[in-house]
Subunit: 227 residues, 4 copies
C-alpha cells in the first residue's frame, strides 16, 4: 500500500520534498522549474512532483502517486492532489519502465543549458576523477552490481533538441535509450538535464557529478583550457 | 481589518519578512537595497517595506500598512512604523493600481544591473524552457487564468533609465504600462529590477525566472554564445 | 561596566560572533582571515576579535575587551582571552579614535583583492543605485544625520599597499584619514578591505554595499563594459 | 580506547561528519567525492571516511577506526562499518606516518582541478595576505610552534599526475614528501587536493586558505592579471 505521510525521512514522499528543497537552493529548480519521480520498492508505486509548485515549498500531499496498470506503459493515479501532474511524467515513466530506474531527477541547471549551447549531439568528457562516480552500464557478473567508469573512460551524455511540450520529448528520449544503452542521463537543449538511476541515492549522485563535470567543462572553456 | 502580527506564515507581513530574508541570501538585497509590497486580498490593505532596514532582519512591525483612500491613486497609512517608507512606494502603488498586481518585488540583482549595461531599450529572450514560467499577458477565455509564454515565444523586458530619486521613475514606469501592456517587469539601468504579479507566489516565480534568464544571457555573452 | 556574556543578540560580543559567522559564509573570512571591532556605547569599551580563530566558531569569551587609557591613543585590556589579539587592532583603534567609528570590519573579500590588482591608487564608481547606501561625509545641519551619496555622485575608495605586518599599515591608514576625510573604507592591495561606520549596522551596510560594487566592477571588466 | 558515539562535537567522529557536511555545501565533495581522516590524540586511533557515502549524510557509525599495528606502515581496523574504506586511506596513513599529520582532508574542489590544468609541476603564489595562514615548515626553536609564511614568502604546492586508482598515488605522494619537505598539501591533476596538518583545525584552515588562493589565481587569469 502507498502512503503520503510518513515520519521516515527516507520515505519517497519525504525524499522528493527534501531533495526538491536542496535542489532549489542549488539553483537547479528556480521558478517552479524541474521535477522528480521515485519508485517505491515496497509498494511499487511511483511518486511524481506536480507542476507549478515552488520546489522549496513542496509538501508530500502535493505529490501524485501512480501505480502500474494492466496495459503496457499504463499508470493509474492512486493519489491525486488538486494540482496538475508534471508535464515530464511520461518521460519519467519511460525511464522507470525501460531503464529500470527507481528515481528520475530533472533540473534546469544553468550548466546544463550552457553545455547544450557549446556542444551539438553529445557531451563527452574523460580523465576526470569525478567520472568514477558515474556508471559504465556494465554489471559485475559475480556481484550483480553496476560497474562505474574508470578515470580514463569516456562519459558520454547525449543531447536532444527541446520541444514546445515536455511530453513531446518522449520520442527523442526513447531514441536515446536505443542509441545510448549505457546512458543514465540526457541533456535537453536550452532546457536542462534528466538523470535516472537504480536507487534515489544513485540518481542524486549521478546528477551532482554530471553538474560538477558540466560546470568544470564550462570553466575550462572560459579559461581556454582544451578538454 | 489589517494586522501586523500573525502566526500564519502566509500572512502578508510574514511573507514580506521571510522573502526579504531569502532575497538577502540570494544577494539581491544587500546593504538594505531592494523593497517589496503585498496587497492583502481580505483587508485590501497594502503592506510595504520601510527604507534603511537590513533585509535579513526585517520584522512585521517594521512594515507600513496602507489602505486605499477616496481619491484616485491616494493611499493612507493605517499602520506607521518609526521608519521612512521605501522611496519605491509610489512605483509599487502604481503597479497595484494599474496592473492589478497583488505583489511587487524590487531587487538590486547584479544580473539585472549588468544586463542594463549590455542592452539598450529592451532585453529579449526566446527558446529557453524557463520562459514557460512567464506570463504572456493573454488570459484563457474559459478559465479566466493567465496563459504563460511558450518555449518559442519572446520574453521582452523593457529597460528604463535610472533617476536620482526612485519616485521620479513613476513617469517612465507608467510609459512602460502603456507601451508594453503585457510586461510584468521592468529593468532600471544601473539600478535593478521591478517585478509584479497577480499573487505573491507568481511575482516571486516571475522574479526568480527573470533573474535566471538574465544570468544565463550574461554567461552566454561571456562564452561568446549568440542569443 | 563591560560584560562578555549576554542574552541580547545586539550585545557587541554577540554581534561580533554572529557577524563573523555570517561573513565566513560569505567567503570573506576564510582560514581565520578578517577581523572586527565594536565600541559599546554604554560602557565605552571596545570589543576586538582575537587572531587565529575560525570566524564561524568565534565565541564571546574569545574576544578582547579594551578600555580607553589616560594617554592619547592608549587602550588597556579589561578582559583578555588566552589568545593573541588581532594584529589589526592598532588600525581598528585608530578608526575608533580619529573617525569616531563605533564599528570596524576587516575582510579578505576576493572582490577587494582583485580590485586592488585592477586599480592603482583609488577605486572610483558612480551612477549605481547601490552608491546611495554609502555616506557622503557631509552631515545635515538641522538633523545632525549623515547625508548619503546620490546616484550621480562619485564613491572613492583609496587603495594602500600592503605591509608584512598589519600594524605597519597604521601610517598609510592615517594618511588616508588626512587625504580622504570623507572615506569610510580603505582597500589594501593583495590583502582586503577595511570599513568603518558610526554604528555597527552602518559599518555592515557599507561593507556589503562596497563588496557589491566591487563585484559589479569586476564583472563589468570581464564583460568589457566601460565604467 | 576508541569510541564512535560521543556528545562532544570535537570528537573525531563528529568532526569528520560536521566537516564533511560543511565541505559538501562548499561544493568540494559532491557526488560522494572527497575523503578525510583524523588521528585521535588520546586513543591514537585514526578515523577514516568510507567510500560511496554522500558527504552531507555521513554518520559516525559509517567511519572506519584504525589502530597502529606492530609492523611499519601497518594499521588494523578496530571498528569496521558495512562499507568499503576510502580508496585514499593508504595516502592518508602515509601523511599520518611520515608527516606527523593529525588530520588529512581530500576534496574535489573545482579550483584545484582547474589549477592543475593551468600549471604543470607546481602552483606558486606570493604577496597575498592569506598566505600568512599557511605554514612555512620551520619551527620556532623556543616555543616549538610552527612558523607561518610571511606576506612576501612563496607558497609552493606541488602537482602530481592522477592514476586510475587512488592508492596508486602513494609513490608520487612519498616523492613529494622527499622533494618538498615543507609542503602541507599536494594537488592531483584532474582530481583534486590533499591537505594535511598538525591538528584538524590547522588542516581545515590550510585547506580553506589554499582553495581561496587557487580561486584568486583563476580569477586573476580570467582578468588577465599577472601573478
Amino acid at each position: 500500500m502507498y502512503s503520503i505521510q510518513s515520519h521516515d525521512p527516507r520515505h519517497p514522499a519525504n525524499l522528493i520534498c527534501s531533495l526538491s528543497n536542496q535542489f532549489f537552493h542549488k539553483e537547479w529548480c528556480l521558478g517552479t522549474g524541474g521535477a522528480m519521480s521515485i519508485e517505491d520498492e515496497t509498494s511499487n508505486c511511483i511518486y511524481v512532483t506536480p507542476s507549478g509548485v515552488q520546489k522549496e515549498l513542496m509538501k508530500p500531499k502535493d505529490l501524485y502517486v501512480l501505480t502500474k496498470g494492466k496495459e503496457k506503459n499504463q499508470y493509474d493515479p492512486v493519489y491525486t492532489p488538486p494540482l496538475k501532474i508534471s508535464d515530464c511524467s511520461p518521460l519519467f515513466l519511460a525511464c522507470h519502465e525501460h531503464k529500470q530506474a527507481k528515481a528520475v531527477i530533472h533540473t534546469h541547471s544553468q550548466n546544463a543549458v550552457l553545455i547544450t549551447l557549446l556542444y551539438d549531439k553529445e557531451f563527452n568528457i574523460s580523465n576526470m576523477e569525478q567520472i568514477k562516480a558515474m556508471p559504465s552500464g556494465a554489471v559485475d557478473s559475480t556481484t550483480g552490481k553496476q560497474i562505474n567508469l574508470s578515470f580514463h573512460d569516456n562519459l558520454c551524455i547525449p543531447i536532444i533538441d527541446n520541444k514546445p511540450h515536455e511530453h513531446d520529448l518522449l520520442e527523442s528520449l526513447e531514441k536515446v535509450f536505443n542509441e545510448y544503452p549505457n546512458a543514465c542521463a540526457v541533456l535537453v537543449r536550452r532546457h536542462g538535464l534528466f538523470v535516472w538511476g537504480p536507487t534515489v541515492d544513485k540518481a542524486k549522485i549521478y546528477n551532482e557529478s554530471i553538474d560538477y563535470l558540466l560546470g568544470l567543462a564550462i570553466k575550462m572553456d572560459q579559461l581556454n583550457i582544451p578538454m
